[in-house]
Point group: C2
Chain length 382, copies 2
């Protein structure tokens, strides 16, 4: 809890829920008759609505990207390091829109919402969602907000996939796409880790085939395990070594299976906390959206062909120790962009924190991100 709000914070913010009454057809063949999206905005939309930035969230993210919901909130929004007055996404210049995606568990319509056709919670009946579905729903959000073209669509990890998809599905509505710590498609290893997470959740006896709400229980252990596996892949071996090493909780080995090493209790704690705040069905949906994302798929695996319609400029950033979506995956994207004659700026940032580095400000990351966004602001007169 901050005593006073930092001067470079967007300050106290309130989410708003926007109801969309028109049906949305999804890639899976199903549709939603209507849906809600929970949104936060920071900064002011200028007169010609040219200074809007869309923030797309990653697997466990949500709409609360910056600022504080109250003076009692312990931590600011998840990307507060990059969004605020004077920060890379400068809210003195940009109007920033951040939402919770469809299928989410932070207020937007998802598995924990009432299915209007049954009057019960969706649970496992919530349709499988793709990155393209999110982009479609975000385009409607742009319509609602009167934004014809985003100055930039920005995201890290799964969020970067949405930025990329925007540039392909609505080329004329994206001036810049900022794709951070992302990949044009999951590798077999990435899918494998997701599959372990899903199996952990669905194996939990309290999962009840996704209808745990009706049983008044939660598949806590499964979700905890899923998060533990995920968490390991967000960090680098080196940063875990730096943070925990082989440090013991007590002085000597106890020769048992209680948490003895600090890293064990840290992971258990993170997993348990997550299992109390996140919805298991949403976790399944988000990991599946990751698996399916592959814009090159319909172009015989040729990403540069998939990129043909794009009209935006790209900023692609990767992090040296990210082994979940390694720099090589970003380079693949950049190569395809160049081969498709697109404008792209690329940097691999040296940072020890693995995939999580995209959430942690470091001088070179901040400098490059700031300089690029400054150019975006100048272009749109912000």
């Amino acid at each position: 809890m901050p005593d006073s709000l930092p001067s470079d914070s967007v300050g106290l913010v309130s989410p708003q829920t926007i109801h969309f009454n028109a049906p949305i057809d999804l890639a899976c063949g199903q549709s939603l008759e209507n849906y809600d999206l929970v949104v936060e905005t920071y900064g002011t939309l200028n007169a010609d609505a040219s200074n809007a930035i869309l923030i797309c969230h990653a697997l466990s993210g949500h709409h609360h990207a910056a600022g504080y919901h109250s003076m009692e909130e312990r931590k600011p929004g998840w990307w507060d390091s990059c969004i605020g007055p004077g920060k890379p996404i400068d809210t003195n210049r940009f109007f920033v829109v951040s939402l919770n995606n469809l299928g989410g568990c932070h207020g937007s319509t998802g598995p924990g919402s009432v299915n209007p056709s049954t009057g019960k919670l969706y649970g496992p009946d919530f349709p499988v969602i793709t990155v393209a579905d999110w982009v479609k729903s975000q385009a409607r959000l742009a319509d609602h907000l009167g934004i014809q073209q985003w100055a930039a669509v920005v995201g890290g990890s799964l969020g970067g996939m949405q930025a990329l998809q925007w540039s392909l599905d609505f080329p004329e509505r994206v001036r810049h796409a900022v794709v951070i710590a992302s990949t044009p498609r999951l590798s077999a290893q990435n899918i494998a880790f997701n599959e372990v997470a899903r199996q952990a959740i669905t194996s939990d006896r309290e999962f009840h085939e996704g209808r745990y709400y009706e049983h008044d229980v939660l598949p806590r252990r499964g979700l905890m395990l899923a998060r533990m596996v995920g968490h390991i892949t967000y960090l680098s071996d080196a940063s875990m070594g730096e943070k925990f090493g082989r440090e013991l909780r007590e002085e000597a080995y106890k020769f048992g299976f209680d948490a003895e090493f600090q890293v064990e209790s840290y992971l258990r704690y993170q997993g348990e906390r997550f299992s109390e705040s996140f919805d298991a069905n949403t976790y399944l949906l988000m990991t599946r959206a990751l698996d399916y994302f592959d814009p090159a798929y319909e172009h015989g695996g040729d990403l540069s062909k998939a990129l043909a319609p794009a009209q935006c400029e790209y900023l692609v950033l990767s992090f040296s120790t990210d082994w979940r979506f390694s720099p090589e995956r970003s380079e693949e994207m950049v190569n395809a962009m160049i081969s498709a004659r697109k404008k792209v700026s690329y940097a691999e940032i040296d940072a020890p924190w693995g995939h999580d580095a995209f959430l942690i400000p470091t001088p070179r990351y901040t400098d490059i991100f700031t300089a690029y966004m400054d150019r975006v602001a100048r272009e749109v007169g912000a």
Copy 2:
């Protein structure tokens, strides 16, 4: 099932059970009054018992390292690629001893054995075992077999840790220690993956605090998950990509949570098969033995000090794409050996298969291993 046995196979082999009646004190403070070790041997012990090689197994390994138990056996022992007539560990020259370790689930005394003090199966009451405990029990096995000094103690992964520990605990009884794809201690990331595996097992409702035998059930889902996680860490991102890529089982996305990608069904299959053939309590013990291994621990973290008593020569081998126990971990070991004035040969083998590469013969691996073992054989007149 081979139609006929390959000429470079040790052929049909039979395990034997050796009963040890003297109590063994363990690192955890407990002791076993008596115990069995299941053993296979290949080749012939020479007159002065100088040509004996001890094979130490890894996490899920056992005594059946080479040859076939019957003409019906589909696959030979787990390290048949390296043990046999004319192979790196040449059974025309060496007498090879391979055992199932204490705590194992392939016939040696372990959690599935009867606890003589209760008349029931040990289950979770089986003491936590360390690498040093295994080495102590293996030394008794050497006594039993009349082997004063091993020509070499050889192992990969957790097996390599045993080879290293032998050189420290019984310096005069080891001529050569061959440490393959191993590490002098687990990293925080390694421990974290082990912890996920253990949590998966102990979270399974059928685990019953380790007393699942008494309930006539098995914690299959937990063990399956544990194996799935483990399996991912044994392979490289590249080799999984090579083997599975993003290949689908059917032609198009089905937008659901059944296995759609080949890698999903492969992992599920491997996990399920493992969960039917391996004991969950043993899995817990083996991962904990990995966690605890750290010979430098009692020497203020200085591995070269820990190595001071060693008299053997070392061969250390690592594999370029092994990210579980990377070449850097082997180099750490080699540096400490050099700094402790020990004789050590080291090679990093270029191989795409990650940690599993130690089980897969490649020309440079086979050549180096063969040349080194030839020198060992010559030294002992074999």
